[in-house]
Point group: D2
Chain length 344, copies 4
Amino acid sequence: MFFASDNSSGVPVEIMAALSRANEGYARSYGTDDIMARVTARIRAIFEAPEAAIHLTATGTAANALALATLTPPWGAIFCHRHAHIAEDECGAPEFFTHGAKLALIDGPHGKITPAALTEALATTGASGVHGVQRGALSLTNVTEAGTIYTPAEIATLTAIAKQHNLPCHLDGARFANALVATGATPAEMTWKAGIDALSFGGTKNGLLGVEAVILFDPAKSWELELRRKRGGHLFSKHRFLSAQMEAYLQDDLWLRLAARANAMGQRLSQGIANLNGAALTHPGEANMVFANWEEGGHARLQAAGAIYYDLRPTKEGRETARMVASWNTTEDHVDRFLAALAT
Amino acid sequence: MFFASDNSSGVPVEIMAALSRANEGYARSYGTDDIMARVTARIRAIFEAPEAAIHLTATGTAANALALATLTPPWGAIFCHRHAHIAEDECGAPEFFTHGAKLALIDGPHGKITPAALTEALATTGASGVHGVQRGALSLTNVTEAGTIYTPAEIATLTAIAKQHNLPCHLDGARFANALVATGATPAEMTWKAGIDALSFGGTKNGLLGVEAVILFDPAKSWELELRRKRGGHLFSKHRFLSAQMEAYLQDDLWLRLAARANAMGQRLSQGIANLNGAALTHPGEANMVFANWEEGGHARLQAAGAIYYDLRPTKEGRETARMVASWNTTEDHVDRFLAALAT
Amino acid sequence: MFFASDNSSGVPVEIMAALSRANEGYARSYGTDDIMARVTARIRAIFEAPEAAIHLTATGTAANALALATLTPPWGAIFCHRHAHIAEDECGAPEFFTHGAKLALIDGPHGKITPAALTEALATTGASGVHGVQRGALSLTNVTEAGTIYTPAEIATLTAIAKQHNLPCHLDGARFANALVATGATPAEMTWKAGIDALSFGGTKNGLLGVEAVILFDPAKSWELELRRKRGGHLFSKHRFLSAQMEAYLQDDLWLRLAARANAMGQRLSQGIANLNGAALTHPGEANMVFANWEEGGHARLQAAGAIYYDLRPTKEGRETARMVASWNTTEDHVDRFLAALAT
Amino acid sequence: MFFASDNSSGVPVEIMAALSRANEGYARSYGTDDIMARVTARIRAIFEAPEAAIHLTATGTAANALALATLTPPWGAIFCHRHAHIAEDECGAPEFFTHGAKLALIDGPHGKITPAALTEALATTGASGVHGVQRGALSLTNVTEAGTIYTPAEIATLTAIAKQHNLPCHLDGARFANALVATGATPAEMTWKAGIDALSFGGTKNGLLGVEAVILFDPAKSWELELRRKRGGHLFSKHRFLSAQMEAYLQDDLWLRLAARANAMGQRLSQGIANLNGAALTHPGEANMVFANWEEGGHARLQAAGAIYYDLRPTKEGRETARMVASWNTTEDHVDRFLAALAT
């Protein structure tokens, strides 16, 4: 019953097999390997973006920080949700890579920014000339940190507001596959067709050892990103081992099948909790993450049964609160045992 | 005939096997995995340093930059050889991670800093009070970028000079195993017993997919390094896959056996070149790297034979110059065919 | 009727005379001038802080940013009011000088942080281990950006909460003299006796051409601040001209007399507005700044009469809103004409 | 006998008078004062550069660092002389403001870069693709740190080499007026007509309390520089006091008259030393700085006579070495007494 995070899971056999294949022989280093050439072509095809620049990193924090640094000057404000991963979970990596840009935090229910809140934030930040920081970029997350989903239309609405101020738009897609599966959108619809300029395309949480891709739909800053990646210590000498993971991930829709599995298990858990007496969903469970709260005692029963998940700060009313994440290898048995333990 | 770099090679079967084993089941993320606990104990034992702090990274640039940032304030000067990897091959990563420290470049034959040159550099940099940068740290590389070796006694002489100014001392050990094998020194003799405070302990060039360890012999700044690693995007969620590589690397002296093989092939190549008419070693070939020059025409013959290596700027006299690196899986056949092609 | 800012005023004759005296003959440069030695002694005496380190800068932004960079590592969070000058009016200077620290913004009525809000902010920021930024420092402003005042007891309450987390505490005293005059507190009571570790001691807004002092009550980081100041381009070669301004400012309580005058004019304006039909104070006017709102039409009448001040965003109800600042040379006539124009 | 530095002198009466005039009445702050508008127009006229962007700072270090940060990305190399002020005397300010750019130091006799040395430096730095830093900018100093002069033709030769790599070119003109007077060149000939893109136009060493101008001959990055200036704490609220100094400096050629006086005294000192037995000029004394060496005993005699200057590291042969700087208010009597004391 491991629901702590999708990064507690290992990787499917297809990925290990790809690593073994990539290990044969010599290969050019630092991203000039043959596999990477195929990966670039494949991602461009999947995203219907024949000019896009693709750069691999090994962590999501690196992908986000490099993308944002490329989009925003040091005196820029990055508009994002108060609970965005870039704001809460990266120990200031965006500030480090951007050389001191400011995150302008926007409140919003269920991890989502509303058009009204974005409009208000843009009206108050970057409006004081040289005295304050300038408007820099918009950064959204999909699947959000609250486990909810932006539809392509919602993303397009927000990016359109940002682009009234000429802001570039970034999407943290650590769980991008899960968002696609949940909405049925195509990769292009969820990104550049909806106004996204740079995507952190996640793989690690969805079955890789550690690979993400930064996708710049406008390749003009590709060389800058390349230099920032090297300077950040994120250019791998034996890069083929990153390329190989990503290639296998995209082969035969593996990435979508893994996400579909995780989402299905997340839904099963969400619905199960919603049906329990005394338990409730904190946020709508739209993908593979489930936020819930319940009456006192649930934690004790679950821990006694061996369930692993995050217990969060209780509500003001004293209800226990938790986050559970289903993974590509979560089983129905795990979900059902979790629900059983919580139920009584 | 691949001699371009030791990072063109893949990894030995022991490493792939360790990855597969590590892939089983769930594991705690972000460096709290059980394997890492064993790695820490093992490295401490190998280095006879029971208090040392160990942090893994996936690239050598990250290891160096994080170590240096922890040792040096932004207004410090890092004394290093003019051709140090940190000076020439990291696109300014030390400057990025230290927030603008300056590299004070020291000339010296065959990639090595002499005591006299270090003394002179320390006398002229950091001697002008608030107007100039302050003396920050000493950084040595072993095996050096010229393929030569510092003995522990040579390192101790240099660190003693640095410590007259209370400078912390860093060792870039991207090829640390090769240096040990070449000298017969123990890990402790080559590091803390010789005045080294922080070591970039390389694995990637010697047979890993991508793992290095930063070893702080004084653990006082371990937490600071941990935060810098996270902030730099270098803390892996599925950290077990780094730990597993390092564990297998250290198992049954695999790391030393791999380096011994690479060094033996480097020696074979060095001696072969030294015996050729019209060819000469540019630097003494003391480990697995060989720098040589030869009369015009050598490049053409080697390339025709399919040899892969770096051709460098020719000498003023017009002699062709090259760098060849032997790897853990270089074969005697490769070496001999290289020599044959060059000889004709 | 100049109420735009206290920095629209020039300087009193005593200051110009001091500059002329300082101009005679040769002087040692870069802060080693004789006048600075006297300034240091004088500030230490005024603050009853015989060990304090004193460094002059020419702008308040420099003073704040240098102080904060000395107190906070790059991965620290600086807790401050949402409308703090360091958050809204310095174009990210704190982020620049700290190399990317984050400002944790705290809401609170009338520009002041409440103990409950600070406690909550400290509970949620810096509580997620390596994943989030760490708690770095507390920064208060007195007089606040809303023209209100913290009493020494209020400051002591807030710093005591911060010090439960071992946080150093900074006070932005751009209008420090005005705060002292308004409360009757001594400099020591308002600062180190109330838990303040570093003070930006303002002079520019209160009658100098451009001089502030950073006062570190614990001098341990004085040399670090000295290096940061130089590195930031804020160490003046002809430093005597800064020293001379500060010396004259402190002579015969000039600084307190100037602030008393400004506060008196601020009070006169506050009370006048409070007595007007249709006008109201937005914040209590406790020193020399006045925030007010009034029915539509006030702006037009004031501007027709030649009044200079800041018009702010109107309230949701459509009331016009404004900020007026009285200066050391504001006259009763100016205040009364302003009130007359608004009243009609 | 003050020859320590031109920043040990005060300012001429014209400057103090201008400050007094500027002190009258209210003025808009933060660089929007009326005087600044006139200064901008005047500098554009003097430099025959009607589009140039002009920004004032209070220190030369700020001017240099802001200019360089605007010209160079963090991963750029700034090519400069080994003994450039930006390399030796600013405590790393260029690295701080550029966020970690690297200074590529070039040796050359008498403080000057030769075309051959620049060509060689450009061939070896920035030539390794993503692995090394990129070529960023060229920075020259005139008058050089060795007291020598680049003619406009020499500058044009160097900038032409740099522009083969599309590098922007910066001139540190802390003693720009002295260089003009020494060569008879016009401001335009010495700068944009010779390929200079950004000038640090010094005032402080030549008679101001503390004002320099950054001049961008291409104004495209003016707003970026404005933001960097604010963010660096270098935008003055009571900016009129900077503007007023600069206006008076340029009035009736005061700046050139002051420099002519300093140069004349420097020449008198140079020629006097050259004529003394046992003394010699270390560098040609072409403006107001004099570098000389003499037999042991000179320091003792000069100090006994009360002379103030910098004693530098003695030569290997044991000759005493010194730097003397004449200022706008150095008198013939001072020079002659210095020579008499040294002569005995």
